[in-house]
Symmetry: C2
Subunit: 638 residues, 2 copies
């Protein structure tokens, strides 16, 4: 008989959290159960090698397998590092989670551009002094309120939220018929004692796959009064949308994200001193998987070709339907999505860039594990999603990491010595390289001639920083061990470069296929908007050099930051924006780029830096020539 009772006690350090689990449970599962923010990009499949934990009592674990060994360095093995997904507990033990295996404490982008917008929220308040009922005028309480709203404020077509009826009669008498009525559009959602018209607040949320950002706004002014963010608490259940939508317990994912949203809200309430009952509306944006999970809609088919969403339209729910801790009769508005992999966050990009109003052709790129690209102007917009992968977030890159303290974010290479000048976040001793650093690195390696336009590290450079690694492939020593936080060389290998090229190729392919299907030429793009937390820190020039951005004047490339959050805020303060978002979601054409017959050849040609057809990148070509790194022959085209 299998003994199913929890028997093994695991203590996680430095938290000191203890949990009991059945024998042979994995440390990863135990960490999930204990709510430890342990990173697991592959969702426990044993492929990413990121869930490193330190366990001194190795005798309390299963023996290390060959597969696990491959994912660990000799240094790891010396220091009792194990992978949590492989480690099965056999006896009580202590698990130490190193800082680099944490999902949290990263630099989270919450700022987005302030797109000017007329303040006209759905939530409005009206102060009334109502005549009490008499035998001559015994109309219903609600009729008294509604008719006064009509005569005093010209409001018509009003209805009442059913939930406020139960105690309405006592309340209005307790308030002595001097009340403030709260309307959500035409629906009375609350009454309050005396004149509270100056207290109207709203909560805008951006549900990112990685990060939740929350903004508390004064709806009388449209101004943000407090901001906070949090790692998406779904991360322990899978790093990317695919592992999320395949996660078997969708209720759990919904529960934790709602808890996260409430947690940010609690913090905003504490910061600002504003009470839940005075927050009457929440708006939310997210990619389509986040959208479905947030709403409790099964996202399974978003992961199966042809990836249709269940619902595209803007939705309005009551706060109590989702258990969001704003006013219990408040509204939750979730902006519409466009397609299975182009979500409400992209609507936010369009809204905040205002490309749907522009005459000139614009291109927006929202870089992430999936990168959404939108092309067009007021007449026509096309969008696509590119599987750019998590390389820019550090996955599958040996020294890759998210933008957190100690990550290298800016790089220059001295063209003769190949010495690296770098900046780290918080100026901390370097631990690894984040996305913006990697883009700089590839651009610089190309510029100074360490790699060729195919991204191949040249073997004849005769420089000690360029060497063969333990797998006999080439690598470049970015920071020598003497200068790093953990006394290990920070290196960048041929494999790492290939990952970055793959990511940029995916995005570049998306852009080219949008242009083809519009149809437009690359030159017709007049302005580029870069959205997303990661995009905000990219060196535009480096990104243009590697072909991630089209070749356009740098001052025509505008970083718009957390455009999803901006879109959420715009919808919160403006009724018109909600309507426009629905129009945009209907109007934007979605292009399934994988389905285009030219996908394969464009994707292969995009593996060339900046692109196989250099005529699209005249400036980069000149730059490369200047640095004597221009290919002598035109690179192959597929």
């Amino acid at each position: 008989m299998v003994d199913k009772d929890p028997k093994i006690s695991i203590t996680f350090q430095p938290e000191g959290k203890r949990i009991k689990v059945p024998k042979n449970s994995t440390i990863l599962n135990a960490a999930l159960l204990a709510g430890i923010d342990l990173i697991s990009i592959c969702n426990g499949k044993g492929t990413c090698g990121k869930c490193k934990v330190i366990i001194h009592e190795q005798s309390c674990l299963n023996k290390i397998s060959e597969k696990e060994q491959e994912l660990l360095t000799p240094n790891d093995r010396e220091n009792n590092v194990r992978l949590a997904c492989f480690s099965k507990v056999e006896d009580n033990l202590i698990v130490r989670i190193p800082e680099y295996s944490r999902t949290g404490k990263q630099r989270l982008q919450v700022e987005g551009i302030e797109t000017p917008i007329a303040n006209n929220p759905s939530i409005k308040k009206y102060y009334l002094e109502i005549e009490e009922p008499t035998l001559e005028d015994p109309r219903s309480d609600i009729d008294r309120v509604i008719s006064l709203l009509q005569s005093k404020y010209n409001l018509v077509g009003l209805s009442v939220n059913f939930n406020i009826l139960r105690n309405f009669a006592e309340k209005i008498r307790e308030f002595e018929w001097k009340i403030t009525v709260v309307l959500s559009n035409n629906e009375i959602i609350s009454i309050e004692s005396e004149d509270t018209t100056m207290e109207i607040y709203g909560y805008a949320v951006d549900i990112g796959t990685t990060k939740l950002a929350g903004y508390l706004l004064d709806l009388n002014t449209g101004k943000v009064i407090a901001v906070d963010s949090l790692m998406n608490p779904q991360i322990p259940f899978g790093e990317d949308v695919i592992s999320r939508l395949n996660f078997p317990d969708q209720y759990k994912l919904q529960k934790v994200v709602l808890e996260g949203i409430n947690q940010i809200l609690d913090s905003l309430k504490e910061k600002s001193g504003i009470k839940a009952e005075n927050i009457y509306e929440m708006t939310a944006v997210g990619n389509t998987v986040m959208h479905h999970i947030f709403l409790g809609i099964n996202p399974l088919f978003l992961g199966r070709s042809p990836y249709p969403p269940v619902i595209r339209n803007i939705l309005c729910l009551n706060a109590n339907q989702l258990g969001i801790n704003i006013n219990s009769n408040g509204k939750i508005i979730i902006l519409p999505v466009i397609a299975g992999f182009v979500g409400a966050d992209t609507i936010g990009v369009i809204l905040s860039s205002e490309m749907h109003k522009r005459d000139e052709i614009c291109l927006a790129i929202d870089i992430g594990t999936n990168t959404e690209v939108v092309l067009g102007n007021k007449d026509k917009l096309i969008a696509a999603s590119c599987a750019s992968g998590p390389a820019f977030e550090g996955a599958h890159i040996k020294f890759g990491m998210r933008a957190s303290s100690g990550s290298i974010e800016k790089i220059k290479i001295e063209p003769h010595s190949f010495e690296v000048l770098y900046e780290t976040i918080d100026n901390a001793p370097p631990i690894g390289i984040c996305g913006s650093g990697m883009i700089d690195l590839v651009a610089e390696m190309l510029r100074v001639g360490i790699i060729d336009v195919g991204g191949i590290i040249k073997k004849d450079l005769n420089n000690p920083q360029i060497r063969k690694n333990e797998n006999s492939s080439m690598e470049y020593v970015v920071v020598p061990a003497t200068n790093t936080a953990n006394n290990k060389d920070i290196t960048f290998s041929q494999q790492d470069i290939n990952q970055i090229i793959l990511a940029k190729a995916a995005i570049h392919t998306g852009i080219k296929l949008l242009l083809k299907n519009y149809p437009l030429s690359m030159e017709s793009i007049r302005e580029v908007f870069i959205a997303g937390a990661f995009g905000s820190h990219i060196n535009k020039e480096s990104a243009r050099v590697i072909g991630l951005f089209p070749e356009i004047d740098l001052d025509k490339i505008t970083v718009i930051g957390n455009a999803a959050g901006t879109g959420s805020r715009m919808a919160l303060v403006s009724n018109a924006t909600k309507e426009i978002s629905e129009e945009i979601s209907k109007k934007v054409q979605y292009l399934e780029i994988g389905n285009d017959k030219d996908f394969q050849s464009i994707f292969l040609n995009s593996h060339i830096i900046p692109y196989a057809d250099l005529s699209e990148f005249p400036e980069v070509s000149n730059l490369l020539k200047k640095f004597h790194n221009y290919p002598t022959t035109q690179p192959p085209k597929f």
Copy 2:
């Protein structure tokens, strides 16, 4: 120390139900707890004397008090009858509930006239064969459904019930994209496999203070397919609306009425073989107190001058908000009310009589504990509520009873011998007299000269059936003990007559004040509609003789039966009726008759049979003359 543990075991017979209650609990409370349908008109105040129970083990009870003794007959005392509200338990005992102390098993009127109406329900079904998503057309599942509904059936402005989204994707694929879509107006509330367009059902309910009536309708044809009814399970908590609205535990009252509505529904489902999921809408009507309690709205202020309702408007809820066992996304529509004491049931009276469409002036009377009267035509309608009291239902009448087996419902008096010819319900041996019998009785007593126009029993008639009773007041032996079910004389005393006159006076006053305020004369009334269970069995002529109905040709008095139920059914099958009901509720003027300066004098003059001013009743005057019972002098006018 008081021992609060339940200690005393009570067994109710003939049910055999057993319950344990604390020592000194009353039998009435124990019966409530046990769900026994024991009548208690005064709600346990110790005044109505109706909660008679038989307890042989008198030693297990408190001693009988003087107040209790007064309410019992010597016969009761001989037969171990006690009043449940006075009886406190001291030891384990058996309580027998006699049939006459039951609330249930009464004749319940469910039929109403069939007012012709175009069948156009809010619920509609559409069969669709949808093309599956492809990479070329990966629109959302909902977009596919909505756009096909638009192109195939010209439907626009559609929305989706949030609750169906969770598993929508699996369902539509399981159904292989051949689905029937269920719409409630413009909202998609369900999808079903294959073509189920022939199965659309609805449930119409009339929530009476005394009775719940339920009708299952085929919404494709508008026809009733099953009917059932039940005593309102709130009765044990108080017989009339005033005791209901003052009952401290309103949640309990809501709970039991919802359970009752579900109980009828279960019975209809069983009778018809129709499943809950194919019943998509329920409509409900009720007086304003029933309306508020049904919705969980605190009805307290309906009992306090000036008696304003909390809300007047028609309301639409989701079935799951109230836990009604129709399709879980079905709708509950409750028709609007008019005022605190003129409810949705009166809207039903207007709808089924169609007086809101008529050119001629009509009068509708819905007789009950509160009698609602409505006067007018398509141009103007006024309504009032009259506190007619529960006399017609048997309360405060010694041998009064509801219309159940063994109650005398029709009476003729032989003018010379004063012998009574009667009919009982079910032809059972007589137990008491129900409302229609009492009206016959008073009319006949007047006609044959046992009483005068003041309702006073003449003392000089020298007939053995007219005698003094134990309280030294006059009484008339309606059925001698030899012919009754319980071998007791069934009598009708001066006090009993006074109660009937009080009730008719209240109603007549209401009618006269409506006429005065309209303003109209009595003669301008062209048609009278009599609604309500009780009204259906009244002898129209008797009612006209005693002045309960205005003097109008008998063929212009139309009995419309359970008009509330008819109204509920009309709203169920017709969207237009729902809209019209809201218009009616806005348009009908409510008259608070107690507030009219002439109320007192008209009310006093109405104590004369048929009325102090006999010129309003020329036919009755002639009739009385013919029977030598015409007053020699004009009765006093106040």
